[in-house]
Point group: C2
Chain length 443, copies 2
Amino acid sequence: MGGFFTGRTLTGIGRDLRAGRESARGLVARVLESVDKDLNAFVTLDAEGAETAARWADEELASGVDRGPLHGVPVAVKDIVDVAGLPTGMGSGHFAGYVAEADAACVTMLRDAGAVIVGKTGTQEFAFGGSGDVSVNGAVRNPRDRERMSGGSSSGSAVAVAAGMVPLAIGTDTGGSVRIPSAFCGIAGFKPPHGVIPTDGVFPLSRSLDHVGVLAATAEDCRLAYDALTGPAEAVPSLLDGSSGGGDRAGATPYGRVAWIEPPACDPEVERRVRALFPDAPSERIDFAGLRQVFLAIEYSEAYDVHAERVAEAPGRYQPATLARLEGAGRMPGWRLVRALRERDRYAEEIAVLLDRYDLLAMPTMPIPAPRIGATEVGLGPLTALLVSLTSPWNVLGLPALSVPAGTVPADGGGGELPVGAQLVTRRGAESLLFTAAEHLAR
Amino acid sequence: MGGFFTGRTLTGIGRDLRAGRESARGLVARVLESVDKDLNAFVTLDAEGAETAARWADEELASGVDRGPLHGVPVAVKDIVDVAGLPTGMGSGHFAGYVAEADAACVTMLRDAGAVIVGKTGTQEFAFGGSGDVSVNGAVRNPRDRERMSGGSSSGSAVAVAAGMVPLAIGTDTGGSVRIPSAFCGIAGFKPPHGVIPTDGVFPLSRSLDHVGVLAATAEDCRLAYDALTGPAEAVPSLLDGSSGGGDRAGATPYGRVAWIEPPACDPEVERRVRALFPDAPSERIDFAGLRQVFLAIEYSEAYDVHAERVAEAPGRYQPATLARLEGAGRMPGWRLVRALRERDRYAEEIAVLLDRYDLLAMPTMPIPAPRIGATEVGLGPLTALLVSLTSPWNVLGLPALSVPAGTVPADGGGGELPVGAQLVTRRGAESLLFTAAEHLAR
């Protein structure tokens, strides 16, 4: 723990840059000093490209051109996202030697906002899995306990932020891949509504479910980055702002009306820890099991479409765990996809009704703290299913979801504490409510 | 052959009704007299309901209320389409005893146009197949040769028209089910653009591909029925009307520019017979094989979604051939559906380019004349694939397609002649071009 950026916020960094106490070039040097190779967060560091971009950022600031909160800020990018001139490795043996010719759309957006791309971060192979330990580059390690999973698939992005190597990173999230490692590593991760940040130049996992998201130490820094990329989020009134004090005020908080969504299977310590943040929120239930079926039918069908030829022609280039999952994905029947797409519409209506009564749905991000690297099963069941159990519904429905640090719980088997994440979900377009809530929770 | 309606047109019938030479009640009696039970076209005759509707039609006409060309005309309806108060049997043991409570949307449209519903016609079980000999009600027989298939799945509708039992029938078409039996029985069948006639109240086979269509002795009668159901089709200028005599006039005919689409596998006699109708049409090729893959992925996935619970709970109530096809449908992988939906968009663009150069695409409706009942293979290959080989692309693309009688060819194995159908396809909304062409071809 404890790279240069630990404890520093984007606001603080921006103030230092503008006051001349720090330079973008200096920050790049800090990144390179802070990289802890043992954690395996980065697969590529682009010292030269970062230097050039930082020099440019410094010159712009000096000449009065100010691109906003990301100007001069070092950012790490997940290694399934193309950065022109750098390898995109996908965590796989399949893409050895591949160098991207153009920037992904989100990278262009970062550069337009003045950010300095410092390198590429380790990803679960083809982003297909949430553990963070399946990659041709080896496991990414959790900075809180190096024998523990980082979570994935945006493993390196989360670890680079959590260990203070960078103040901000870009990830992708198809079933939880931004939020899972954020929760396991004790940082904040934000998955915007579907489609808001374009996925052009991002290697697809499941096109209907893929989202680009941001990871930072705090929700406030996620908000700053999200605003910088997409324009300031519209400030949305909570349901309480419209009420005249009467009527149903269930779940009312200073930041809106909150429902507690009961997790179907959860470590009791984790549940207690997160529930304590929302003591007055009424409990609601949603059909996690049904939503999981919808998620799997879509993800598996779309993922195998992307990989069918590679599986047929060069199966040995996959990590064994990825190949096994893909082979299963190839067997997902088409009729289940047809049904899933219809069910998704029905669930969207159900959740819309819930979100007419509540501003925010709160639940743990992960039902467990980070397991040990290599585990495939924990007390609550097989890990693959557990890892996305609370996050994937919000990919199916395309709703904005934020994971924020929510303290720690004792590690199983003794020895230290492990981070817990609280997940907040809201209506599409009401992202500002998530960040307002996170601000209150952080006080 | 030779029921009362043989050789009579909707125009002639309408003239007789309005001149008092015939009554709607009289026509119902003619239908009942004309039914040839051995052909197995009808599964339900509703003498009483038809009488009542006919009396009402007669009274309206007598009092000066004229609902147009279908007023007082007896119509037969395929037995997967709900008619209030009558059984809908689906050709299956699964729906024994089921009686529809409400009319399907297309039946409401027929009644609004003054038509008299006389009964329900035999269908391939659940409309899943084009042979016409798989049904709990037994094979529907081809009036041209009773040992031959009628074609399907709108088997009874085609046979009832072909044998002169009714002047008009309603069918459905998911891969060719209106056009196949029309071609095999020597009548006209029209599949409108997707969605123009609603499918509410029609038992689904594959929702994306299902169409309601009309069957009559002539294309002109199909046009009258289609116009009566949907409002008069817009008269569309052919590509030639816009040209000043110069430019590319390939395939020019008095009714527009025609391309001959080369069938991938076709009985040479059938091909010669249909090709002769379009002697100057340049040959074009389309990717029938690729379109077939798209068709199967969509049809199988959607069909099994409809049937999954029935297959699991009461497989023995299906005809063995239907069950075998459904089980195969259940194994269609989801990734092939994902790919098919993307490919469909690509094919739609390709065909749109072709339809920028030609008004009409012409080809045989069926690559073979009607095989013997019970056959599963013919010289050209397995029958299941052949039956929809030339018709199903137009379901995938949702384009209007008309099959018109195109003479006969000698039956294989000697003994008589069998009908051949010519299929015409055009742009969505340009249906009038199909009917104008058919009028020229019939001269």
